[in-house]
């Protein structure tokens, strides 16, 4: 039988049959929220697949050429080879547009599902000892994913993404002491430098995917080795894990989920337009367009920049630019704090024990309140980042909306945090002392004319 011959062959070469037997029998808990990480994994797989195709067509060169392709409004326009290659991919390569759009949708869903996964891990306390390293790797993966997205959508050299690059360059320039040097070294000179596009390309197709793949492998290996946390089922012992064996059921489910992820991404890729760079035109350094937003995962940063006051610090003949605090320091604090959260919480609660059980949010009201406040904070910032689109949608004055958002950005997290904290405490208390179910009893008339109570039913 083929399977037997295969296993014999592998064992002969790798001495692996006990490894196979052991690992195929490994169980994984089945709760739906534990699959969010898989969504991220499969979105990444889709990115790799579609990305390889795109890289076979994209030309990472800022050199100018005249567009001669079928898209009439750009006919005769001077554009970069990069921009031209993206238009050619979109309009002249069969299935090119669906591959390109699927790639971009996959990037958005990749970051969205990583965030959902992070939220799940946070609210269930799955980052606690011994899984702190997995958490740190996860936060790094999130940042890498955002970096991959940003470098990726800047590749077509269109007006919208070029404007975004200008903002990042300005943010780097604002760094005290070393800012101008850092900007000139990494961006290749004064903006826009000719080297910039090919550096973004190398970052996007090689350096960042290599980092993601490497870190992802360690992340998965850690989950495999340390076993997955779970809401411990009644009647099982601490130090055990209950779930579906990897082979065949869990593997089949995972592959099924992979296909569903691919399906959703491909569906979006063909049916819903994303990043129509032909409407934005090629990047020219003096061009301005609206609405001017980055992809959603940088929307919170855009919101910080739009709401931040116009402060600037001048000292002893030097300037600390307006962008430094909101665009460099604040994100730095946020992500460092996020990465170090397991240690912050352990210090604050004094809990350094090993935990393999997932908690329900209601079991940790303070943490859940803080998490909810964090989510509300990011949502408010993302709304701020889209303020002009939001104002047009709501038919209100955008500058007044800004005033409201400035208040909301503090109020929403505070209110959400307190409400969630209170809800968790309430739910937790109810679990500890559940309301007793009402007792039922029957009262029957007896022969003597009195009343007897029949036992509780």
């Amino acid at each position: 039988m083929i399977v037997r011959r295969l296993v014999d062959g592998v064992d002969e070469r790798l001495d692996a049959s006990s490894f196979i037997k052991h690992n195929l029998r490994k169980v994984f808990p089945d709760h739906w929220s534990f699959m969010l990480g898989e969504l991220a994994l499969y979105s990444f797989a889709m990115l790799l697949l579609t990305g390889i195709f795109l890289s076979l067509f994209f030309v990472a060169s800022p050199a100018e050429t005249i567009y001669q392709g079928p898209y009439a409004p750009m006919q005769g326009r001077e554009v970069s080879l990069a921009y031209e290659s993206v238009l050619r991919l979109s309009f002249e390569v069969r299935a090119g547009l669906v591959m390109r759009q699927t790639h971009h949708w996959a990037a958005l869903v990749f970051v969205a599902s990583m965030t959902a996964h992070l939220v799940r891990v946070f609210f269930t306390g799955a980052f606690r000892r011994p899984r702190e390293l997995s958490w740190i790797i996860g936060v790094t993966l999130l940042v890498a994913g955002i970096g991959a997205g940003f470098t990726g959508y800047s590749l077509p050299d269109d007006l919208l993404s070029g404007t975004g690059l200008r903002i990042i360059d300005s943010a780097v320039l604002s760094i005290p002491v070393a800012g101008t040097w850092l900007a000139y070294l990494f961006f290749g000179g004064e903006f826009p430098a000719p080297e910039l596009l090919s550096r973004l390309f190398v970052m996007h197709i090689f350096l960042i995917p290599a980092v993601i793949t490497g870190l992802l492998s360690v992340h998965l290996a850690l989950v495999w080795r340390q076993t997955h946390t779970q809401f411990r089922p009644k009647g099982t012992l601490e130090g055990t894990v209950t779930g579906t064996p990897v082979w065949p059921k869990f593997a089949l489910k995972s592959v099924g989920l992979a296909f569903m992820t691919f399906a959703v991404l491909a569906g979006l890729g063909g049916l819903v337009q994303i990043n129509p760079v032909w409407l934005y035109g090629p990047f020219v350094p003096y061009g301005a367009l609206s609405p001017a937003q980055p992809d959603f995962y940088a929307g919170w940063l855009e919101g910080i920049l739009r709401l931040w006051p116009n402060w600037e610090l001048h000292l002893f003949g030097h300037t600390i630019g307006n962008l430094f605090l909101p665009a460099v320091v604040l994100p730095g604090i946020i992500f460092t704090g996020l990465a170090l959260w397991p240690f912050i919480e352990a210090r604050a609660t004094g809990d350094t024990a090993v935990h393999h059980d997932a908690q329900r949010p209601r079991d940790e009201p303070v943490r859940s309140g803080i998490g909810a406040a964090g989510i509300a904070f990011f949502v408010s910032l993302m709304l701020a980042g889209s303020n002009d689109v939001l104002a047009k949608f709501l038919q209100v004055e955008v500058d007044s909306l800004n005033g409201v958002l400035r208040v909301l950005v503090f109020l929403m997290p505070a209110i959400t945090g307190v409400v969630v904290w209170w809800l968790c405490r309430d739910l937790g208390a109810r679990d500890a002392a559940p309301i007793a179910r009402p007792a039922r009893s029957e009262i029957r008339r007896n022969a003597a004319g009195g009343f007897d109570e029949v036992e509780d039913l």
Binding site: D30, H31, W32, S33, M35, L36, L39, A72, P73, M74, Q75, R77, S90, L97, Q101, W105, L108, V109, A112, S113, L159, L160, F231, P233, K253, L257, M260, V264, L265, L268, L271, V272, Q273, I274, N275, P276, W278, L279, Y280, G281, G287, A288, L289, S290, P291, A292, D295, F296, Y297, G299, G385, S386, N387, V389, L390, A391, K392, Q395, E397, V398
Partner: protein, 254 residues
């Protein structure tokens, strides 16, 4: 040189110069001639009646303006036609912002009003002639991106610009209205005269805007051409949303 030959040359040159001046001035004067319809007295009477009934309360009988509405003395036919054709005027409440809507008058009535206002407030920009069929899409896209996209959005679907206004979507504007807006700069909009957008560019701009109504969306649903904001919303709500639904259907709930 001296003598009779010189005097002759000078006379000839003087005649030429005067003739040229008359020709040029005549051309200019000719271009300000009133339209043929205004020559008919009934037409003007209709315009006058409409003006007195609908406009004079805010703009005054002599178009000199009141606290409720500006003077129309320097407006010109282009501005009047623009406001009426796009339904921005008449304004029900003077405190409202003018907004595009259904025109309150028929085209014939609008022509009559334009003619009447021109007669009591002559001058100002004439209604531009814009021929989209003469336009070049590529030039139009260039002009649009260089001048219009910053306020009206890269896809011409409109955007907030501050100052209490929203630069509107351009999908309902016909070429003449486009030309009028470009030349007069209504509301907060700046003006773009022939020095910045010449006739060929204006024709091309109109051609591109008409083209944008039904084209440019090869990728599928265009989400109001609102860019990354709409795309992010769909990615989270539809993309992640459907997938989480799948997870809930196939995973354990406990």
């Amino acid at each position: 040189m001296a003598g009779p030959a010189h005097a002759e040359a000078r006379l000839l040159s003087r005649i030429l110069r005067v003739g040229l001046t008359i020709a040029v001035l005549g051309q200019i004067a000719w271009s300000f001639r009133p339209g043929p319809s205004a020559a008919q007295p009934e037409f003007e009477a209709e315009g006058r009646a409409l003006y007195e009934a609908n406009c004079s309360t805010c703009h005054a009988l002599g178009a000199t303006g009141t606290p409720n509405g500006p003077s129309l003395l320097d407006s010109g036919p282009a501005a009047v036609d623009f406001m009426l054709r796009t339904g921005r005027m008449p304004l029900a409440n003077p405190a409202d912002q003018p907004e595009r809507g259904q025109p309150k008058f028929t085209p014939a009535q609008i022509d009559a009003l334009v003619a009447y206002v021109s007669s009591i407030a002559p001058g100002g920009l004439p209604i531009p002639t814009v021929d989209a069929s003469q336009g070049d899409l590529a030039l139009g896209a260039r002009v649009f991106l260089d001048n219009c996209a910053a306020c009206h959005g890269a896809g011409a679907s409109g955007d907030s610009v501050g100052g209490g206004q929203i630069a509107p979507s351009l999908y309902e504007a016909d070429p003449t209205v486009i030309g009028e807006a470009v030349r007069i700069g209504p509301g907060l909009m700046p003006t773009f005269g022939p020095g910045t957008i010449d006739q060929a560019e204006l024709d091309s701009l109109a051609a591109y805007l008409l083209w944008l109504r039904d084209n440019g969306d090869e990728g599928g649903l265009q989400l109001g051409r609102a860019g990354a904001v709409a795309e992010g919303f769909i990615a989270i709500v539809v993309g992640l949303g459907i997938l989480i639904l799948v997870l809930r259907l196939t995973g354990a709930k406990r």
